[in-house]
């Protein structure tokens, strides 16, 4: 009974202005997850590979960048160098791992990325170090009173979250247009459906994958930078991938706009859960499994996510 009461209380509290602020703040922090998710979806959509190494690529990029700036390299030079490193890394992964494994079943490819993940973890920390570094992008983090713009909306929003949202949104729009309206985009979708058939019609699988992995490397870097500014660069950054996972699963593995929507949902649900429902369950720190529970509920309703392509199966 007590639990029920507090549950009702929690729900009641959710629909106040404070609840709205939490909701909006959560959505915006969910954008951070979207950033990770975009790289995931890009690779999955173009090759059918569930790239588990995403988190470590992110860490590797951020760590490279930080280590360079700490060695007094100019910001933009470091940025350029890191971009190049990530492009090269993407191409190397494609060459040495994805190409020999083309046409294998998706589980093998997934496992291969798990291997790459482990490899990069060792490499990143072996090459640089495992200390905690700070990153300052120079984006203001002070809050904005939304009421100054929309008078009746008396809530606070962080500028930094706005910046992250802008980055994510432009990435999503760009990639969406690319996949939907360009030749390469269409080829990529074909490749993710059937490797063999796309080779048979003359789509240069390997070239296209090299491009995708290179782009993914750069996207990882961008996401890594923003995350690093939020969290600082350390090993914990690799767990960003675990934040991205429920997001892409909600949005659907094959949908770029899904990343954004999934991120918003997860972010909001996580914050609401943490603030209003954690006490009901008798302890803080529920956000880890809460996100997955949210995702699970969505997926049970739509087994391939909100925007994901339905599997077409026949014998």
């Amino acid at each position: 009974m007590e639990v029920l009461n507090s549950l009702v209380g929690a729900f009641a509290e959710m629909f106040t202005l404070f609840g709205l602020e939490v909701f909006v703040g959560g959505m915006l922090s969910g954008i951070m997850y979207s950033l990770v998710a975009i790289g995931f979806v890009l690779v999955y959509k173009s090759s059918g590979v569930f790239n588990f190494a995403q988190g470590t690529m992110l860490l590797f990029a951020a760590l490279t960048f930080v280590s360079l700036t700490e060695r007094q390299v100019n910001f933009w030079v470091a940025f350029a160098i890191t971009c190049v490193v990530m492009v090269i890394m993407g191409i190397i992964i494609e060459r040495t791992v994805m190409r020999p494994l083309a046409n294998q079943d998706l589980l093998s490819l997934f496992m291969a990325t798990v291997g790459v993940n482990y490899f990069l973890e060792g490499l990143a920390q072996g090459t640089w170090d495992s200390a905690v570094h700070g990153v300052e992008l120079g984006v203001p983090t002070d809050p904005v009173f939304v009421s100054e713009i929309i008078p009746w909306l008396d809530i606070l929003v962080s500028k930094f979250d706005g910046f992250a949202a802008a980055v994510a949104l432009s990435l999503v729009i760009g990639l969406y247009l690319f996949f939907q309206y360009t030749r390469t985009g269409l080829s990529l979708r074909a490749v993710s459906d059937d490797h063999m058939a796309s080779q048979a019609v003359g789509i240069p699988l390997t070239k296209i994958w090299a491009i995708v992995w290179a782009v993914t490397g750069v996207i990882c870097f961008i996401a890594g930078l923003i995350w690093a500014d939020r969290l600082s660069v350390s090993f914990t950054l690799t767990w960003a991938v675990l934040k991205g996972l429920p997001v892409i699963l909600i949005g659907g593995l094959t949908s770029i706009p899904g990343c954004l929507v999934g991120g918003l949902i997860i972010g909001a649900s996580e914050k609401l859960g943490e603030i209003f429902f954690a006490d009901v369950f008798g302890g803080q720190g529920i956000e880890h499994w809460w996100a997955y529970l949210t995702a699970l509920v969505f997926i049970l309703i739509r087994p391939t996510g909100i925007f994901g392509e339905r599997d077409i199966e026949r014998i």
């Binding site: 494994l101 998706l106 798990v114 291997g115 490899f119 699963l249 302890g283 880890h288 699970l296 014998i315």
Partner: protein, 370 residues
Amino acid sequence: MYYRETGQIVSSYIEDRRMVPVREDRWIMWAFLAFMFFVVPFIGNDYWFSAILIPIMVLGIASLGLNIASGYTGQLSLGTAGFMSFGAFTAYNLLLRVEWMNIWLAFLAAGVVAGLMGVIFGLPSLRIKGFYLLVSTLCAQFFHEWLFNAYPWFLNYASSGVVHLPPFHYRFMPFQDQIFDMLGMAKEYNAYVWRYLIALIVCVVLALAAKNMVRSSTGRNWMAVRDMDIAAKVIGIPVGKTKLNAFFVSCFYCGVAGAMYSYCYIGNLDFMIYDLRRSFLVMFMIILGGLGSILGSFLGAIFVYGWPILVTRFGDAVFGGGYLDTAFVENNSKIVVGTIIVVLLIYQPFGFAGLWNTIKHRLRIWPFRT
């Protein structure tokens, strides 16, 4: 090879369906078991028991569990450590709170509870497939970390979050106290050699059980679901039921392994060690050892667990003690294991077990080539 199966003619179905069809293989198996049971306890020392043999057996069982879900039934799971943790906590609480509990029953209960958790978290597999299923098992993984953290009752309100497992927990045979007193061994219940024997018995029983399940209709159903679930459904295999029983068996193994991890290996209970990284470690074991292979589960465990030790030992031998720092060893083993995973996936998708089969096949027809 030095022996051939030629001339070993079977004359009944019972013989035909033997687990180990070749006579010499049977001899080797019995000799190996006898060696492990009757020789090793006398020649082994604490280091070998505690740091090598026990962990390999425990992790081997865990990876066998994961292999049943992922390798045999094709259901991806990243919650292995979570299910291990459910098992460990079940065993601990039973032994702590139930007067007449002994370690065998506790392990069994650990398996059953973890198995039931597995069924609960496996329920979504009835509706969702493939990578989407990761969400459910990851949920299990994080849920256990939160549960055992938020409710200290499970840890008997230990302030440090770690419980040392008291000796009276290690009750593994009737009249144990009396026998031990008689032999003058006081209360050495949790001496490593006993832990080793407990682990070995559980390990042998579970491995044989798995081998037989895989050969039976249960196992064939699992594999049918893995290879193409629609086709399996069409020929009348109850896909949902098969998935759930795979989850149950898989998590049963993980649960037992979890209890053993606490009781036989590290000797204390702490939910922090059952983190996601442990899940991944177990996953590496099955990838390297071979998906869908019982032998492979153990080979994988040996390699993934053994490699860092080997590197450390090697470093100590070549450069003198303590030359290689732990960070180096850790990074090195990550790089090596990562590389080997990729290389094996490319050249030998069935892992060490596949390698072993190829070698065996080559030897069998040696000196001829295929």
